[in-house]
Symmetry: C2
């Protein structure tokens, strides 16, 4: 592999001048520049990041800390789309994405160490299980941090309008005549889970509907197995007096609920209307297609990238708090007017 010295020698100039050409300094003669560029091409020379990083202290690397616990990684229908948009935006600015993990063989490397090892410029948190202390530690050594889904102190976070989106969905059910509306939801350990449930409680209050524990349930984690069990037990518990509508606070459990209902001979939406949250791909494939609150995942990723770039360029950002991305209620076939009893 050709180095800067090879280019210097062959072109007849010094390494310093070659470097200047590649870093677009002014003060290099046009002919010199051209000659250097030509020999660089001839030799197939590209500056090496490792060597650059040593002196510039910049790796042009953005770490992503991903939910490792679910073993889903890229396959996660929500995060993967956010990440794709984030990656694409950051790449346009010259950054590469790398995944920060903790399974280093030689040493018991934690996230922080991995960041140091790679000289990471910035980190995107896309995990709901990361220890707060670890996030703070990473932020504290000067690495620029942005988060999606989870809020850490002093780290800007992008979130959908969970509250407003949920409220709108519930009002829609109300407008269809539903008065007994159940809730089956995400773990309350996640911020989104909390916000969506807050909306449910506020909705009940505003419309003078009773808070009925029997028709409210939560998962404790995001595993499909548990979701299936919760959906089954939910139906079992209420089989004699089912709600006419259920707000399921994320799509996968909504679909599971819907399938379980149908398998028990309960019609969706005729017997019971269902609204989910997320608008992941399968909502369109399920029968009936699921009415849901769409999250604009690309926008979340793009916004995260914008903030990250501002941080990296030391531009002032609006706040270190929460940035909201709008949601949208998507009407499909899993909801209809409540039957008059």
């Amino acid at each position: 592999m050709a180095t800067i010295y090879d280019v210097a020698e062959k072109s007849g100039f010094s390494a310093a001048t070659v470097s200047k050409v590649f870093n677009r300094y002014q003060g290099v003669n046009a002919k010199t520049k051209e000659k250097i560029l030509i020999t660089a091409r001839e030799l197939g020379y590209t500056p090496t990041q490792s060597a650059q990083a040593l002196v510039t202290k910049k790796s042009w690397l953005i770490g992503v800390i991903f939910q490792e616990d679910l073993k889903q990684g890229f396959v996660h229908p929500h995060f993967s789309e956010i990440l794709e948009a984030f990656k694409s935006e950051m790449e346009k600015a010259g950054y590469d994405i790398i995944f920060i993990n903790r399974n280093f063989p030689n040493q018991n490397m934690r996230y922080l160490e991995h960041c140091r090892y790679r000289n990471i410029d910035g980190v995107l948190f896309a995990s709901s299980t990361l220890d707060i202390k670890e996030a703070i530690a990473i932020n504290n050594i000067g690495i620029k941090c942005v988060s999606v889904e989870t809020k850490y102190p002093k780290i800007p976070t992008i979130l959908s309008t969970n509250y407003e989106g949920s409220f709108e969905a519930l009002k829609y059910l109300y407008s269809l005549g539903h008065r007994k509306i159940g809730y089956l939801g995400s773990p309350l350990s996640s911020l989104s889970g909390i916000e969506r449930f807050e909306a449910y409680k506020a909705f009940l209050k505003e419309f003078n509907l009773p808070y009925d524990k029997k028709i409210i349930d939560f998962c404790e984690n995001y595993t499909p197995q548990e979701e299936l069990e919760r959906a089954s037990s939910y139906i079992e518990r209420n089989k004699n007096d089912l709600p006419t509508a259920i707000f399921a606070s994320h799509d996968r459990i909504a679909i599971t609920l819907q399938k379980t209902l149908i398998s028990k001979g309960i019609s969706v939406p005729n017997d019971i209307s269902i609204i989910g949250f997320d608008d992941i791909e399968i909502t369109n494939v399920s029968t009936p297609a699921l009415t849901t609150v769409k999250q604009f995942r690309s926008n979340i990723g793009i916004k995260a990238a914008e903030i990250m770039k501002d941080l990296l360029n030391n531009k002032p950002i609006e706040s270190k708090g929460i940035f909201r991305i709008n949601t949208q209620l998507i009407l499909r076939d899993s909801t209809c007017r409540a039957r008059i009893i």
Copy 2:
């Protein structure tokens, strides 16, 4: 950030000795080692990869060249799962994954240059649109290469048993009494597409069935729009004399076909049986659930990682040809016995 010299100074030893401790040399006194390790911990020292790479010529970085054209990236249901398994295996061995892209702002960087820039140790090709020349060029500068889906000269490739899997699916349809079996498929530009269609042709020959152009069609690319158009025109063209079964050579078009049929009042599987290929998540959500040939994506990724590790360790590998991963026919609800006419 603490450097090796900080550790050296504070511990009272030289940088050379500190380095030896971190690189598990023999020939360092146990007490010395302990003292150095302790001060390293106190100072929060982690060796910096950029500096290591400069002398060791090893980046511990594996590049992934991904299908950029579809703009799907991580969201791709097939590649993302392969990639997840590959990444996980490589990380266990101490490598990090990075995405090789071609949109560098400062220079018109191509894949090869990006690899040089990052000093990549190995590359996984997971793209069906990469120019062969670019792949060869990367391989030629000594970067270890492995590919999935697409075969490049001298680069080991992992592929599912497309032929056998397709053949088995077709034989299954035959065993259900189907004699007029259509084919709606992937672009013939992809190796998988070719192999699946080869199986179809061989099947027709072996069972003495006619090759009927009217019930055979291919997409030219993988866009959902085109798939919808093809599915519609396929049905339109054959509406007076539909096949009793169709082998759709990837799941998404199978689902599209199925939905289109149902929307026209044609029952799946009663009027027409459908088998797909891939077993992506949505096959289970669609109604009826899709019978399909499952690809073991994790196994593909794991195998790719194994070969990559062997290459990186300069172990001899079995071949530079194609490694096959078995498929499995998954029976669901989109197939049934042909009606007796």
